[in-house]
């Protein structure tokens, strides 16, 4: 029988209740949790938001999440053929699903606006 990893992923936007989605991902040795999440997005559910830039090379450091209660990079954490619980970082503002606000404060849009680079206008 083919082995699977079951990813139980915390979902939702900031400030919402925290429902979870459960995804069955085919397991082969040598995969990362990020590989599993990318499989989910391409084959099961594209509405799942995750964040990464490099792909399992551990250079961009953008994919930090909580794996089974511990802070880890999704690209270096190994996917395992069992239930794995994935949550967004607890110490950063939550944006959506597994994505938190990791942009340095002075590189965010709000900072640019406060610095006088522009303004917010009501849309038509």
């Amino acid at each position: 029988m083919r082995e699977t990893a079951t990813l139980i992923v915390r979902r939702g936007n900031a400030g919402e209740d925290a429902p979870t989605s459960s995804y069955e991902v085919p397991y082969t040795p040598g995969q990362s949790v990020l590989d599993g999440l990318r499989f989910v997005r391409a084959h099961l559910d594209a509405t799942l938001s995750i964040r990464h830039s490099c792909i399992s090379a551990n250079t961009c450091k953008e994919c930090m999440i909580i794996v089974d209660g511990k802070v880890d990079y999704a690209c270096t954490a190994r996917l395992e053929p069992r239930e794995m619980v994935l949550e967004p970082l607890g110490n950063k503002a939550h944006l959506r699903d597994l994505v938190t606000e990791i942009t340095p404060p002075d590189e965010r849009m709000e900072h640019a606006l406060k610095s006088g680079l522009g303004k917010v206008v009501a849309g038509a």
Partner: protein, 568 residues
């Protein structure tokens, strides 16, 4: 439909899109010229592009340990480019590269040094002498990115905005006047008015299933340039890095990490018969690993095609002849990371295969980084021309520095002179980013994977007319499946919408690559046609790409500049 939404309006002299080495260099230089700069990136500033993933070499004729001059570097660059380099651009890279390397040295990037204190230079494929500087065999890119980011942080004229996805350059009366996009953190539409816009978005390797760059390298700059009315050149030339990691699976390590191993220790490329084969293809490697990337790629894939590939479909790379202590002395902690992945190099070969790595083609610019659209500039890997049909190893970061600096300066001077500060915003500029549409029923992340499959199979290193036509047909079908509007509503980090915008870009760029490849009925450098296996002098020309309405139009342009014999 669109809904009433708050819109962010920003204003600056120079907008730089992309914050790899080219973008950061452009921002620094424009700031130095006194221009106000917004340095925008769809991800984190200085962390998200190809630079940070660069492993090793930066080619530059410093002559710090072996006498050298930029003319020698240029001769090697032109030879690798197989007669298709725009020599004015190649010359700029080779001639001005040393200045930027020394500048980075002054900024304490930490180039490796010889015992006598001189900057150490390694020999890399295609170079006639040791010419490549590096920080450490596996961390040159991160050091460069960190150093430049440190400088950008101190440059008060430069405002950094991360998580800003640019979808289109704004063009008013044929002149670039800013850009439209959205803020990823909250989904708000964003409009940036700018007197000059610099594209520094890198390449397109995300079009391919196996690639060595970041997920952001889906050809954003090429699509931005095309839709703004600018011209692209040489789009058929996608560089494959010959020895990308294939098997067994590696977690948390860069797929192109084997090159430094090979330079430093030697490493035998073997076929299924455990025989070295690279010399069978007219190369003379002789243990020096000086075969250029296009030739090594060709040799490996030819062996696979002949049924002599490794089980996963590549070649074996073996370090079994290297003693364990030498391996450890050279790559210390990396050996432990490999062991954690079940790899013991003293006991087993690993499998490698060509992996999409770099794009030689791109935005057509002059030696001041001007595109054909006034106010729009381009730099770094986003540019085409300087590398012709094949890039010499080590030239990518050099050109990021030189082109970035040049683009920053030209853009700042343009902004100073520009009178377009009050140009009207083009009608409908924010329609797409503020659109609210029903969910499509299509999984766009899945469609991206389908496109990657199509490109890998039919527009990879080996091409045929049938395959390329098949790819064009598949791209046309994917276009109809994408839909006219991004799905759902703008919101915080809505990746389903992000995928839609990425796919819109990737399909346009994939078509540009495929149509250019179809037109080039010969084999040259990184472009190999099974149905036209020889180089044809009739194709010493550039294919150019423009948009007419929604249609891609191919053109031809002569190759400008030096011939090899003039500089050799």
């Amino acid at each position: 439909m669109t809904v009433a939404m708050d819109v962010v309006q920003l204003e600056t002299d120079v907008l730089v899109i992309g914050s790899g080495a080219a973008g950061m260099m452009a921002a620094l230089e424009a700031g130095k010229e006194g221009a106000g700069v917004i340095l925008a990136d769809r991800s984190l500033i200085g962390r998200s592009g190809a630079t940070i993933m660069a492993q090793m070499t930066v080619a530059v004729a410093l002559g710090s340990q072996t006498p050298d001059s930029w003319e020698h570097h240029l001769a090697d660059t032109l030879a690798a480019g197989r007669e298709l380099c725009d020599a004015s651009l190649s010359q700029l890279v080779c001639e001005e590269g040393p200045r930027d390397i020394l500048q980075l040295d002054e900024w304490k990037v930490g180039w490796a040094r010889n015992d006598d204190g001189s900057i150490r230079q390694a020999l890399a494929p295609g170079h006639d002498r040791p010419r490549c500087v590096y920080v450490d065999f596996l961390s040159t890119g991160p050091a460069v990115a960190k150093t430049l980011r440190g400088r950008v942080l101190r440059q008060k004229e430069v405002a950094r905005i991360g998580d800003l996805y640019i979808t289109d350059v704004l063009v008013t009366d044929g002149v670039a006047t800013g850009a439209a996009g959205f803020s990823l953190a909250d989904g708000r539409p964003v409009m940036v008015k700018a007197k000059a816009v610099v594209i520094a978005t890198g390449g397109l390797t995300r079009l391919y299933q196996r690639n060595s760059a970041s997920a952001n390298m889906g050809g954003d700059g090429y699509a931005l340039a095309l839709r703004a009315g600018a011209e692209l050149t040489d789009m058929e030339f996608v560089q494959f890095f010959p020895i990308g990691h294939l098997a067994p699976r590696l977690v948390g390590m860069d797929p192109i990490m084997w090159d430094p191993f090979r330079y430093k220790l030697g490493g035998r490329l073997l076929n299924a018969e455990m025989r070295e084969f690279v010399n069978d293809y007219g190369n003379e490697e002789a243990g020096t690993y000086n075969v250029t990337r296009d030739r090594a790629t060709f040799a490996i894939l030819s062996e696979v095609k002949a049924g002599r590939g490794s089980p996963a479909g590549g070649a074996y790379l073996s370090f079994q002849h290297i003693p364990a202590e030498t391996l450890r002395a050279s790559f210390g902690p990396v050996i432990d990371r490999l062991a954690a992945n079940g790899i013991d190099l003293t006991r087993m070969p690993i499998e490698v295969a060509p992996i999409a790595h770099y794009h030689m083609g791109g935005v057509k610019v002059d030696a001041r980084m001007r595109t054909s659209v006034p106010g729009l500039f381009s730099c770094g890997e986003a540019n085409g021309g300087s590398n012709g049909a094949n890039r010499l190893s080590g030239n990518a970061i050099t050109e990021a520095f030189v082109f970035g600096r040049t683009a920053g300066r030209t853009a700042a001077l343009h902004a100073r002179a520009a009178g377009n500060a009050d140009a009207p915003v083009p009608a409908g500029a924010l329609d797409l980013v503020s659109a609210v549409a029903p969910e499509h029923g299509e999984n766009h992340a899945g469609l991206i994977a389908e496109l990657q499959q199509v490109m890998s199979v039919d527009v990879g290193p080996f091409r045929t007319e049938d395959g390329l036509n098949k790819a064009l047909a598949a791209i046309a079908v994917l276009k109809t499946r994408v839909g006219a509007l991004p799905p759902g509503a703008p919101g915080p980090y809505n990746m389903a919408r992000l995928d839609w915008f990425d796919l819109r870009t990737m399909l346009l760029v994939a078509e540009a690559v495929t149509r250019s490849a179809l037109a080039r009925k010969e084999s040259r450098g990184a472009h190999q046609r099974d149905d036209f296996p020889a180089m044809d002098p009739a194709f010493v020309l550039h294919h150019t790409v423009k948009l007419a309405g929604d249609d891609i139009v191919l053109g031809r342009a002569p190759v400008e500049g030096h011939t090899l014999c003039e500089v050799a």
